[in-house]
């Protein structure tokens, strides 16, 4: 059984609004948040805006201190082992800020200095990382001359310099061009193959689906779902699947017929010229009933295909359900 590298247990975090030093208001960002990331996983951390993703990451990286609960890395509480744990973490924030007057190599030397790495080691590892990240020719350029994407890649190099055990990425692809996104994806998969555990927070669900083995969905500061991607999709599909139908004419009579039937929901209707496309949400065993009834009503069915459930569907379903409850 693979051990947990990162474990959050009932973490609570409140933000305090101060006026003249006095707390005038507090609001809850994380509410008994618990989840685990196993060694070697690429863990996708999903949630709508304001769900608490960045706050969670800040608590894990020690930028913020949680009010209640525990955060452990490799079984050790970060509160008592701050130094040791931070040595195991590589962090890439969403908004990358680097000292503009430094060159790429100087930046690496500055941040590498906090891991007791000698200049020669930093230089050697740094050059290798810059090459991998496509910044090999820009090592002597100042950050000021870098584009946003280049800065992000340089920040990633600083996060990887000390060979961390877990890499925490907050919206890593924002600001990167498609080539940069692809290069990053390849790099992350390569690093993962070498044993690096990755926690990835992103709002680009396709990216998470493509990269991650497991996901956690956070909403209103709570983890509402944590499973492998395939399992999550399977569960949702069991509940209801989407069916895409192409018919000659979707008339009012057929529409009323479907609406009346319990367990069927019409999600979308599109006029494609000669044909019409209808997307239904329904339980799998109702598919024969739908086709029989539509044909009996005189409709011609040109195609019928299940609509693949994406992580986006899961994400929306889960967060909607949570809102509803």
């Amino acid at each position: 059984m693979t051990a947990n590298l990162l474990e959050l247990n009932e973490v609570r975090k409140d933000y305090r609004i101060r006026k003249y030093g006095r707390i005038v208001r507090t609001y809850n960002a994380l509410n008994k948040l618990s989840f685990k990331v196993k060694k070697g996983q690429i863990f996708g951390f999903l949630g709508p805006n304001g769900a608490g993703k960045t706050t969670t990451i800040k608590c894990i990286t020690g930028i913020l201190k949680c009010d209640e609960g525990t955060i452990s890395i490799d079984g050790k509480n970060i509160e008592n082992n701050d130094f040791e744990n931070k040595n195991k973490i590589g962090f890439l924030p969403e908004q990358v800020g680097l000292y503009r007057s430094l060159t790429a190599i100087e930046t690496l030397k500055f941040y590498g200095g906090f891991y007791s790495l000698s200049d020669s080691v930093i230089e050697e590892r740094g050059k290798k990382l810059l090459d991998i990240l496509g910044l090999g020719n820009s090592s002597k350029k100042t950050v000021n001359e870098f584009s946003l994407g280049m800065r992000k890649r340089l920040a990633l190099a600083t996060a990887l310099l000390h060979k961390p055990e877990i890499l925490i990425l907050d919206e890593p692809t924002s600001g990167l061009d498609p080539r940069g996104v692809k290069a990053l994806r390849t790099l992350l998969l390569d690093l993962n193959k070498e044993g690096l555990t990755i926690l990835l927070s992103s709002h680009i669900l396709s990216e998470v689906q493509e990269l991650c083995t497991d996901v956690g969905i956070i909403h209103n500061g709570k983890m509402i779902r944590q499973e492998s991607i395939s399992k999550i999709i399977e569960t949702v599909e069991k509940t209801a699947i989407k069916l895409s139908l192409r018919v000659n004419e979707f008339n009012e009579k057929s529409e009323k017929l479907l609406q009346k039937k319990k367990g069927i929901e019409i999600i979308e209707q599109n006029n494609l010229g000669k044909h019409q496309k209808i997307i239904l949400k329904l339980k799998e065993d109702l598919i024969p009933w739908v086709t029989d009834k539509l044909v009996a009503n005189g409709l011609k069915i040109f195609s019928i295909e299940p609509h693949n459930t994406t992580l986006e569907d899961v994400f929306l379903t889960e967060t909607e359900e949570d809102n509803g409850s």
Partner: protein, 492 residues
């Protein structure tokens, strides 16, 4: 949660600093014993005894006695601030003084017996010393005097009639006078050792202290290299350099000019004055270079990347404070040395101790102002707030402090309408004590203190040790506040 539980939790939270807190508590207890020791073994308020004195004048008889008859022939150890009467350190016995005139306050008639004797004033109490204090004791030094109340008989002329004078006078030998610091040093020594032990054990409790110190050095050097290159520092440094060197030269020249607008300058006065100018411009540069440190980092998002490294927030503040102090301090030190050189070549050489204090505490003062500004930079919410706070602090400490003191003195009832109110002892005492709230005034006090040979000096109402303690406490308090404010951000 009740108060006891809260206190217990707070105590546990401060595990690292527990030894230091215990040591400080012990130091406070020793300080109380120190104070009690003086109260028990000496009369620390000579004026209260002096006020018991009464003079009765009859037709041909004048008597000066004390209400408490038991005082006669009794030896009491008095402790107080030494004033040599009449404010110069000359001996009685010159032809002008030995003319048989009766001095009511001194309680004696000057005659040939007063030759080579000296009348001192200890917190306003007159004591006749058998010998000259020339070169042995100086004005404003805190001393103890074992004085004995002796009855003496004199005769003097009044309106042609011979008057008998029976006067009780406090008298002492030169050997009966000692600097108060001889006893103070035992207490200060013990207090310092206990504090150092507490600090040592607390530092030992800091996890990865060695690494954190190396990180502080790493950040300090980074800030130093970065800071020196900024155009702001180049401009401010140049102004600083020209100003201090120029003022040093001017103050040296003024020592030879009795009509100068700054009054007749002595070497000691010049170096204290130069320390004021150093503070005035040094604090401006210190605030100028550190004005946007934390705020700008927050704006440019450089802080999060730093905070995720294995470095404590305290180390970040310490590293930045040290780095920015180096940025201002090294050019300042060069300017101070050159300014001092010109002051000495144009005028006289001030005491070595004061030159050391001028240079060393100049660096401490810069560190204080940097950390003070860091507190403002951490707590301010916008860039303009940081600038306004910094500028206000500089204006208050360096330029308008004297006006603020006058305004406050008026509020507490000191009459500032009289001529030369600055020489009013009440005003001077108030100004000195309130000056402990201003790092610039403390810097001047300490430089002034080091022109003396002892810490047992009264700086117009502030004991020398308190000035020295303040100059150490100010940067420590600012640093602690800055780290506390910075750590508070962690709580969100």
């Amino acid at each position: 949660m009740d108060l006891r539980e809260k206190a217990t939790n707070r105590w546990k939270e401060n595990y690292t600093w527990q030894p230091l807190l215990i040591a400080i508590s012990i130091v406070i207890i020793i300080a109380i014993i120190h104070k009690a020791h003086w109260e028990i073994t000496t009369e620390t308020d000579p004026l209260s005894v002096w006020n018991e004195r009464k003079m009765i004048e009859n037709d041909n008889m004048t008597t000066i006695t004390y209400n408490d008859q038991k005082l006669l022939n009794k030896t009491i150890t008095f402790k107080g601030v030494l004033e040599i009467f009449p404010y110069t350190n000359t001996s009685i016995g010159s032809p002008e003084q030995s003319n048989g005139t009766f001095d009511e306050m001194d309680g004696l008639v000057y005659n040939e017996n007063s030759y080579k004797k000296c009348m001192i004033s200890l917190n306003g109490m007159r004591i006749l010393v058998n010998g000259s204090l020339d070169g042995k004791f100086y004005k404003n030094e805190v001393v103890t005097v074992d004085a004995t109340l002796i009855e003496r008989n004199f005769t003097y002329e009044r309106n042609g009639a011979t008057i008998e004078l029976e006067s009780q006078i406090w008298e002492a030998e030169i050997n009966d006078i000692t600097l108060a610091d001889e006893r103070d040093y035992y207490f200060f020594g013990i207090e310092f050792i206990i504090f150092a032990i507490g600090l040592y054990f607390s530092l030992n409790r800091i996890k990865n202290l060695k690494e954190q110190m190396s990180f502080a050095k790493h950040i300090a050097l980074f800030e130093f290299k970065r800071g020196l290159k900024t155009p702001r520092m180049i401009v401010l440094g140049l102004i600083f350099f020209v100003f201090i060197v120029g003022m040093g030269m001017l103050l040296g020249q003024l020592q030879n000019d009795s009509d100068s607008i700054l009054g007749t300058m002595t070497a000691k006065g010049s170096i204290v004055q130069l320390s004021y100018f150093t503070f005035m411009i040094g604090s401006m540069v210190a605030i100028g270079v550190s004005v946007d440190t934390f705020h700008k980092e927050r704006q440019e998002n450089t802080m999060n990347l730093l905070l995720a490294r294995p470095i404590n927030r305290e180390t970040i503040v310490l590293g930045k404070a040290l780095g920015l102090t180096l940025v201002v301090g090294i050019p300042a030190l060069i300017a101070q040395i050159i300014g001092l050189y010109f002051m000495i070549t144009e005028g006289e050489i001030p005491p070595i101790g004061s030159m050391f204090a001028f240079l060393f505490f100049g660096q401490v003062m810069i560190f204080t102002m940097v950390t003070f500004q860091l507190c403002l930079a951490i707590s301010a919410r916008s860039g303009s707030s940081v600038v306004i706070y910094g500028l206000s602090a500089w204006l208050l400490f360096a330029l308008v402090w004297a006006l603020v003191v006058i305004a406050m003195a008026t509020v507490i009832g000191v009459d500032i309408n009289g001529e030369n109110f600055e020489n009013d002892p009440d005003y001077q005492q108030f100004a000195s004590r309130i000056g402990l709230l201003n790092p610039g005034v403390i810097y001047q006090m300490v430089v002034g203190l080091f022109t003396s040979r002892t810490l047992a000096v009264d700086l117009e109402g502030v004991p020398g040790w308190l000035a020295l303690l303040s100059v150490v406490l100010w940067p420590l308090m600012c640093l602690r506040t800055a780290t506390w404010l910075f750590k508070r951000e962690m709580k969100g």
